[in-house]
Symmetry: C2
Subunit: 274 residues, 2 copies
């Protein structure tokens, strides 16, 4: 028979933990001195302790461990096969947690890399009107009608459906030919790696296009000034404007904080035929 300290050193469980397991009736010392209250453990209990440690390292809750052990107190011949359903159920639970942490880690990665990209975008920013060709890209889009301020709902919908496949900056396609306040026709889009349309969310590839582009720095309610610049540029050169035009939100309200609108960075892209 071993005192609690000896048993602790032999099993690697702390004295506190052993007392706790005694209280929870998980691992009861074979003998307790009625006078002193000292706990004495039998060598045969090493095996039980080992099993508990193994189950704990697999994150089994103590309650389940107690149930498993109690189901087979008689001989100690308990076999893993006897608890295969237990193991399966627990595995499902663990996989759920696993995928939860995958999501969390992926979100953190996205936030961080998005911020870093925004930083470099900010540094390399060129606030002149530019002619450029945008690459084709796969997006999930949700078309809506109403006010631009309500676009958040659109992004949220797509985010919920394609969360972990998002791979770039949010953008918006604007189908109106002129600025509308209350009944705008637009489509919130998020670039994704892969996926298929479901319900109101359409997945498709946006084509490569020649664009006149301009970086707009500042809050959205001053976007019109930048639009004017682009339009003047286009008219001066006599290009034909194609629809829909795009806004790419290089830096806008974040996933956590809305940030300072003065630092928002938006790229206006007007597709044209030269």
């Amino acid at each position: 028979m071993y005192s609690i300290g000896e048993f602790s050193r032999a099993t690697g469980l702390t004295v506190k933990t052993l007392r706790f397991y005694h209280e929870k009736r998980l691992l009861e010392p074979r003998h307790v001195d009625p006078d002193s209250g000292y706990r004495y453990y039998h060598p045969a209990q090493f095996e039980t302790a080992r099993a508990i440690v193994a189950l704990r390292s697999l994150e089994f809750p103590l309650e389940d461990i107690a149930a498993i052990l109690a189901e087979h107190t008689d001989g100690g011949n308990l076999d893993e096969g006897d608890l295969i359903e237990f193991l399966r159920a627990h595995k499902a639970e663990m996989e759920q947690r696993l995928s939860h942490y995958q999501d969390v880690a992926a979100s953190l990665n996205q936030i961080i890399s998005r911020e870093l990209e925004a930083r470099t975008a900010m540094q390399n920013a060129n606030y002149d009107v530019q002619e450029k060709t945008v690459d084709r890209q796969l997006v999930a889009g949700y078309r809506m009608r109403g006010r631009y301020q309500d676009c958040g709902q659109g992004y949220a919908k797509i985010g919920r459906a394609f969360g972990r496949h998002i791979c770039g900056k949010a953008l918006m396609l604007i189908y109106d030919q002129e600025y509308k306040e209350d009944d705008a026709d637009f489509e919130t889009c998020l670039p994704i790696r892969k996926g298929e349309s479901k319900g109101e969310i359409a997945v498709r590839e946006l084509p490569s296009q020649d664009c006149i582009a301009l970086l707009h720095k500042g809050p959205y309610d001053t976007l019109n000034r930048s639009y004017n610049k682009v339009m003047t540029y286009i008219k001066d050169r006599g290009y034909e404007i194609l629809s829909p035009c795009r806004e790419v939100y290089l830096k806008g309200p974040g996933m956590i904080f809305k940030g300072n609108p003065k630092k928002y960075l938006t790229e206006i892209q007007i597709p044209v035929r030269k």
Copy 2:
């Protein structure tokens, strides 16, 4: 101003939670009626509530959230960029948990599939002496000298070093020409998918070999009876015995429980030249 119930419905946080956040000074109602103690929230506090929800969904501890918010109580223009180091540190933490759950899920998978394999092995068992050819396989081996009962230490050593690359049943190579009790020369081996030798653990490929094999059912201390059968078979046919011979532990003491030795299943494989 919103009562706690209204604010709760608007933010999705429960009333209890809001009171708790008040106590923790995370989200203090803008006004508290001194007479009734009623809490009243300002619409501007939606933004803070949203940020808290976002940070919580990323598993940030409340304490960190409080620190983040307190660092920038002034304007609400806090930007994700301002806390990028916070995010990085937290990401590291989350990835640690992620890999922990990956380990746990992998272990559970291994235990379950091992058990299922053992079951089919048990059903398709043929308890006659057989001539067979074993496939080559990559193993990590730890050679030791002493008593067979101490082999557990060898498997533990390999398990610690190659844990997640193990891909099959434990086996043992026996280098002695005859049975030895106390000073046996053997090597504990675990099949692995990939890996390289390190320290005392040697990784190498076991060759394909022609063997005389026999399934032994029962505890290890009755293995000698099965050995006798095999040896008789080999002598009768005049085959030449090659060294080392192998024992494959199809079903033995599990990772959690030692199980019932009467159900242990071991395959004896004696390599021969015919």
